[in-house]
């Protein structure tokens, strides 16, 4: 099988990257020491090739109502232009199709960023749901089409669909467009934003006052104060043909390239889930540490809500710190006084210099509990902790 490549492939090789097959993509795992790269991001600034992730634009007058129904988190929470929201997208049975970030740009445009490995199925699902949604559009006039979100929904249409989406607020159909023309680079670390401004001074005015989890559309550059490391920084989307020059320009001002190896230790220290490891289509968000992203309180219906209400979770995701010597890894068995669980992600934390993990365990397990983890032929002692483990350069424990 031929591996897919990003527009930065040649740059990675020129910078001495060790390349690996990452879900069908030829990606850099490190450019030398993974631990040095980890510290580089916690202490200064590093850049990540995230071109394999997919940017999707959802457009149409009723796009907010559509996302309100499509996603487990509530799109109504974001009302300031550029503001972002993290959400799970669920199957009707409550399984997680993907976790994603949506950016509210205008009432007719939300930008969505999805994972690489799930992008095709995500887009297929979104398009299928959009088609259903569009089918229920009322034959309104232009005034209705442009009515702002949060207005009264027209639920009057009889529908043959077993679980009809709320009828659209407008007559402009929802379109889902995969932005294969865009590349994405994440620049993360305490000095990351300043380095981006050195390279893209024209974006400074528009991005200086962004709060955490907010983006600005600066024409050629879409700059978001988001990331997957637990550090400050930007994720920048730009035309594919410009990304190599941008990458080298960042490097010239001292931003070091960071591989997928450090990306994983950084996100795990920051207590951020990895799709496919910490949750998947067979596990719901409430068992995956994502209850904070699921809005079950509002009247709003969304895909998967009925299943979540009907099946209260019996397990939950907790943080573990290994007390004995060794390294926690995914799929190791966790023995607790309330029954067995399993590690979903484990690693050695360069910031804590200890092994840490996320584990799915019986819901009775509490922070502070002592548990045992089966590593090869031994049972090693670990403690249940509140995560994140580290953020903004420091241990949270």
């Amino acid at each position: 099988m031929t591996l897919k490549t990003t527009p930065l492939n040649a740059a990675h090789r020129a910078m001495g990257a060790k390349m690996v097959d990452f879900g069908g993509w030829d990606m850099p795992v490190n450019y030398g020491s993974q631990i040095d790269e980890h510290h580089q991001v916690r202490r200064d600034s590093g850049m990540f090739d995230v071109c394999h992730m997919r940017v999707v634009d959802a457009k149409g007058a009723g796009v907010r109502a559509f996302l309100r129904y499509l996603l487990a988190n509530n799109a109504d929470k974001i009302t300031i232009p550029g503001k972002a929201l993290y959400s799970a997208m669920l199957r009707p049975n409550g399984g997680v199709i993907d976790d994603l970030i949506i950016y509210f740009m205008t009432e007719e445009w939300f930008r969505i960023v999805v994972n690489a490995g799930t992008a095709d199925k995500d887009i297929a699902w979104m398009k299928e749901q959009a088609q259903e949604f569009n089918r229920h559009l009322p034959a309104g006039d232009a005034a209705v089409a442009l009515s702002p979100a949060g207005g009264k929904l027209d639920r009057g249409n009889a529908s043959p669909h077993p679980n009809p989406p709320p009828a659209g607020e407008g007559t402009i159909p929802i379109t889902i467009t995969s932005r294969d023309d865009l590349a994405m680079v994440a620049i993360q670390g305490p000095n990351a934003r300043a380095k981006v401004w050195e390279v893209l001074p024209q974006t400074r005015a528009a991005t200086e006052n962004l709060v955490n989890f907010q983006a600005a559309d600066c024409g050629e550059y879409f700059v978001a104060r988001t990331g997957y490391t637990g550090e400050d920084g930007f994720e920048v989307m730009l035309p594919k043909e410009n990304v190599e020059a941008f990458w080298y320009a960042l490097n010239k001002v001292g931003v070091k390239p960071i591989g997928l190896g450090a990306r994983d230790t950084l996100r795990l220290e920051a207590g951020m889930n990895l799709y496919g490891q910490d949750m998947n289509e067979n596990v719901g968000p409430l068992e995956s540490g994502l209850a904070w992203t699921v809005d079950l309180k509002s009247e709003r219906d969304f895909i998967g809500k009925a299943a979540l209400l009907a099946n209260p979770p019996t397990q939950k995701l907790v943080g573990l710190v290994l007390l004995d010597r060794g390294v926690l890894r995914g799929h190791q068995k966790v023995v607790t006084q309330h029954g067995d669980g399993e590690i979903t992600s484990g690693t050695f934390s360069p910031t804590l210099e200890k092994s840490i993990a996320l584990a799915r365990v019986p819901k009775e397990v509490q922070v502070g509990d002592s548990v045992q983890v089966a590593i090869r032929d031994k049972m090693l002692a670990a403690q249940v902790v509140k995560y994140p483990f580290a953020r903004n350069g420091k241990s949270c424990l």
Partner: protein, 129 residues
């Protein structure tokens, strides 16, 4: 880093150095450490343990993965490198200096079955394809 010609090698990426007294020191090759990346933990075998050729003997763990280190020949484990406890990264920075354990071979002639540096390099090259 080229593979020292005074050492013997296994297909599972251990190197073996025959000491003056006939005992052997065992470590992992530069190729192996480079595949695994930054080392963070080494689990060494118990002293006096008798092992068969190819038996799991030690474990090295990098940030990325755990890997078994196999006994290159049959024999008895007579020493483990305690220094690696505090500095497992020596396996990265000095792969041919940082031995993991030492053995007394059950049969010195078994060493003849191991690869020399050139044969090992050919083996590494063949695995790359």
């Amino acid at each position: 880093m080229s593979n020292p010609t005074n050492l013997k090698y296994t297909a599972s990426h251990e190197w073996v150095r025959v000491e003056a007294d006939g005992t052997v020191s065992v470590g992992i090759t530069d190729h192996a450490q480079s595949l695994l990346g930054d080392m963070v933990f080494v689990e060494v075998p118990a002293m006096g343990r008798s092992v068969n050729a190819g038996e799991e003997c030690a474990v090295v763990e990098s940030v990325k993965a755990a890997a078994d280190v196999y006994a290159p020949i049959a024999g008895e484990v007579i020493a483990a490198n305690g220094d690696l406890d505090g500095s497992p990264e020596a396996l990265n920075s000095d792969p041919y200096g940082a031995w993991i354990f030492q053995m007394k071979p059950a049969n010195a002639a078994d060493l003849d079955g191991l690869m020399d540096a050139a044969a090992y390099q050919a083996h590494v090259d063949s695995e790359a394809h």
